[in-house]
């Protein structure tokens, strides 16, 4: 479709091997001039590894990189920058306590008599930013501006420094719709100037909005590169998640006929100042209630106060009409609650302990230290769950930190299942795990629900939520803004609810 010479960047057969894992396996990637190329894949698919290989942050173990037709081999990001590859990360990698101008010209300040010429620098900074329709006080500290503006400043610096390839690594994750629109205007302008832009995001809407081509990675392998216009959304999801899951999802949807019974767990005016505004929530046994919302909308905060990780300062919680004590995780566990946190590494796994110890931890903690679970019982529990959840580990005594993300997640799930919970909160249970484990965890959620457990599932994978939830709560700005039930639970409806909350926001 495009002649080879029109590619500004072309990488072939990129390999990257980490101890014990092949992060990239012969991945090809090409970027044309004046193109926005979306790089997609689940967490752990290899997107950031590929980017790091392109920018020299990692040394690749195989493959060639051509920039403007000549082979390059950047040893670090600075070298890549000089060659023409600039990167802007989700967390703005600028210095918050310097001025905008200083940030733009850091390391290359205009000088006069050996001193920094602040006046010239500020003038150049204003000129540079005017190309981006940004009329701001360049002598103000960077931190005094919104993340979106900082993002644009980071882009301006990267483009000014590099000028051939711009990599945007999840730039929109913490922006609202207006800010995203502003950012996209800038991206389009840069594209018209002939820059090649690599765009990484989790938001599929944005991919269709801005990108020309899409490359999908899965488990370190290239799934394919396609023209955005010729790739239906459903097919894209299939590429990202694997056909198995999509099939699963559609199947599950049809069996979603059974009506949940009466509410068993009842929360009224439950909330905590500064964390999540008071909300009402009813969950029946055998029901999955989904929670949707953008990052930072209060999803995790909701989970934390339901589990007592943060103490609620208003409202009541009841089970079967009896008040619940949710003052601490320990109290919540006594009430047969369980919680699989979003950040597995920080909040979930106890890395140096074995898979066995990680599985029995919550049960042992509930029994108290004086009533140890016998070693043979621990072995039995561990073996049972390793088999039942198909946790792939060479043996149960392996430190859990050596397992892959999906298997760690399953072990944490096993930790809770071992306590026989009645109310289980799963925060992003499928994040950062491979496709196979992904489908298994979804299957598991459905099985648990059939067994009469009450589940709260938080996920940014809307298709997933739609598949297993009988109700979906939509969050925005740390408040519950909508509740969708039964027939209303569709991806579009959720997106709509999030979007309308956006528009309804006084600004």
């Amino acid at each position: 479709m495009q002649s080879v010479s029109s590619y500004v960047l072309s990488a072939t057969g990129i390999d990257k091997i980490f101890p014990g894992a092949r992060a990239l396996n012969g991945v090809d990637f090409s970027l044309a001039r004046g193109e926005v190329h979306a790089l997609l894949g689940e967490n752990g698919a290899g997107k950031s590894t590929l980017i790091k290989c392109l920018t020299g942050a990692y040394r690749r173990d195989g493959g060639r990189i051509l920039l403007d037709g000549t082979e390059v081999d950047p040893h670090n990001t600075l070298e890549a920058q000089k060659l023409g590859i600039g990167t802007v990360y989700q967390e703005v990698n600028l210095l918050a306590n310097l001025t905008v101008a200083e940030n733009l010209f850091l390391g290359r300040q205009p000088r006069r008599f050996g001193l920094v010429d602040a006046r010239a620098m500020n003038k150049q900074a204003r000129a540079l930013l005017s190309q981006y329709d940004l009329d701001i006080d360049v002598t103000a500290e960077l931190s005094s501006f919104s993340v979106a503006v900082q993002q644009v400043i980071a882009i301006a610096r990267a483009v000014d420094l590099s000028g051939k390839v711009l990599i945007l690594d999840e730039p929109t994750a913490s922006l609202d719709t207006h800010e995203v629109a502003m950012l996209f205007r800038i991206v389009r302008r840069l594209k018209d100037r002939g820059l090649g832009i690599i765009f990484i995001t989790h938001f599929l809407e944005q991919v269709y909005d801005i990108s020309d081509r899409i490359t999908v990675l899965r488990n370190g392998q290239l799934v394919g590169t396609r023209d955005t216009a010729a790739l239906p959304r459903r097919e894209l999801i299939a590429m990202m998640l694997g056909r198995e899951l999509v099939h699963e999802v559609s199947e599950a949807k049809q069996s979603e006929a059974k009506a949940p019974g009466a509410a068993r767990f009842r929360f009224r005016g439950f909330g905590r100042k500064g964390h999540i505004q008071p909300f009402d929530l009813d969950v029946a046994s055998g029901e999955v209630v989904g929670i949707a919302g953008l990052l930072g909308s209060g999803r995790t905060e909701t989970a934390e106060i339901l589990f007592g990780a943060e103490r609620a300062d208003s409202g009541t919680a009841e089970v079967d009409g009896r008040p619940l004590d949710l003052s601490s995780p320990r109290a919540a566990i006594r009430e047969k609650f369980g919680f699989c946190p979003e950040d597995r590494k920080v909040d979930g796994i106890v890395g140096d302990l074995s898979v066995r110890e990680n599985i029995v931890l919550a049960l042992q903690a509930r029994r108290g230290w004086a009533r140890p679970i016998s070693r043979s019982e621990q072995d039995r529990l561990a073996d049972h769950y390793i088999k039942a959840l198909d946790i792939r580990t060479s043996d149960r005594e392996k430190p859990i930190r050596l397992l892959s993300g999906g298997n760690q997640q399953k072990a944490i799930l096993a930790r809770w299942l071992a306590t026989n919970p009645e109310f289980l909160i799963l925060d992003e249970p499928t994040r950062g795990i491979d496709v196979g484990a992904h489908a298994e965890i979804i299957r598991l959620i459905e099985t648990l629900c059939e067994k009469g457990m009450s589940l709260i599932v938080i996920s940014s994978e809307l298709e997933e939520l739609v598949a297993y939830s009988s109700r979906v709560l939509v969050l925005r700005d740390r408040a519950h803004v909508a509740e969708l039930t039964g027939e209303e639970v569709t991806t579009n409806a959720i997106v709509e609810a999030i979007a309308s909350a956006h528009e309804g926001r006084p600004s």
């Binding site: 919680f339 909040d347 796994i349 106890v350 110890e357 919550a362 903690a365 230290w369």
Partner: protein, 341 residues
């Protein structure tokens, strides 16, 4: 069961080997080193002397191991020894019974541990700072109790704890062996050991799994205070007096060293009390060995420092990945040859 025994053997091998090498080297310099004799119902000899002299550090190492397993550190143990020695001497010279004296002294140690534990667990102060408070203030408190003088006593019962013997072994040896065994059984026969390790590796994840992290942290520092009280009693009974300035001076560092030599990481998590006790004996063997070999005692400190460096190098992640890399290269070489064919 044989599996667990094998695991213990693997775990303790480096410490046992290090101790054996050091003892062997000392015996080269001092031929009569391994000789034991039995007089007045008790064993005598250099080995018994090492066990006896090493008692305070061994006791401190027991508590320190558990504290370090929780990712903490207790710098106050030396000062708590001084406080407890002073309390014991003051109580016995005031005419209280031995039982009362021991009770008050041990309670004092527990109280010191509780103070540290509350600072760390409730107020969330970094352990090194939290215990530094008592490390600095402790000697002052001890001096207040002894009123600045060395408080001597002559109570035969209290002196017996420092220099008496039971079953042919000096009392301090009986105490640290017995107490070490009790604590080791307590943590391994109950779930305490695993829960302490969980807190040390990831306090937040442990709390979210329902582990009472606060209670466990406080308990660890209380145990450390209790160990310091026992060590303080032995040290005071040994010299028949409480020396607020010198009792337990710098012993917190020896205790930390014993734990590190024992292979428990200062980053918390996996711990072994037996290995720490071996570590304490390694340190005491170096001390005694240098004295016996006729080197000037200044060498003691330098050799100790050299051993710390050696052990830290071996334990460092860089060195470990280098070992792994080397062994992998060695393992990969034959494969390459096969591929070449």
């Amino acid at each position: 069961m044989t599996g667990t025994l094998k695991a213990y053997a693997v775990r303790l091998f480096p410490q046992v080997a290090a101790l054996a090498i050091i003892l062997f080297m000392v015996s080269l310099a001092f031929p009569g080193f391994f000789k034991l004799s039995f007089q007045n119902d008790r064993l005598y000899g250099s080995l018994i002397d090492i066990l006896n002299r090493g008692a305070p550090v061994a006791l401190l190492a027991i508590g320190m191991t558990v504290v370090i397993a929780t990712k903490g550190i207790d710098l106050s143990v030396g000062a708590v020894m001084a406080i407890c020695g002073a309390v014991a001497a003051a109580s016995i010279t005031a005419g209280h019974s031995l039982a009362f004296t021991l009770l008050v002294t041990i309670s004092t140690g527990i109280l010191c541990g509780l103070w540290n534990g509350v600072l760390v667990a409730v107020l969330d102060i970094q352990p090194i700072i939290a215990t530094l408070v008592l490390m600095v203030a402790g000697r002052g408190i001890a001096q207040l109790i002894t009123e600045g003088a060395i408080l001597t006593f002559n109570h035969p019962g209290l002196i017996f704890i420092g220099s008496g013997s039971l079953f042919g072994l000096p009392m301090p040896v009986i105490i640290w062996l017995g107490f070490g065994l009790i604590v080791a059984l307590l943590v391994r026969r109950t779930a305490l050991g695993m829960l302490i390790e969980a807190v040390g590796v990831n306090r937040r994840a442990s709390r979210l799994s329902g582990v009472s992290t606060g209670v466990l942290l406080i308990a660890a520092y209380i145990l450390s205070g209790l160990c310091a009280a026992l060590a303080g009693i032995i040290a005071a009974a040994d010299i028949r007096g409480a020396d607020a300035n010198n009792a337990g001076l710098w012993l917190e560092l020896d205790a930390i060293l014993a734990v590190v030599v024992g292979g428990t990481s200062l980053l918390g998590g996996r711990f072994s009390i037996a290995a720490s006790l071996l570590g304490a004996m390694i340190i005491q063997s170096i001390n005694t060995g240098i004295l016996l070999s006729g080197f000037p005692p200044e060498f003691n400190l330098i050799i100790k420092a050299a051993i710390i460096v050696l052990i830290l190098v071996i334990q460092s992640p860089r060195a470990q990945s280098a070992f792994i890399w080397m062994s992998r290269v060695r393992a990969a070489e034959p494969k390459k040859e096969q591929e070449a064919k």
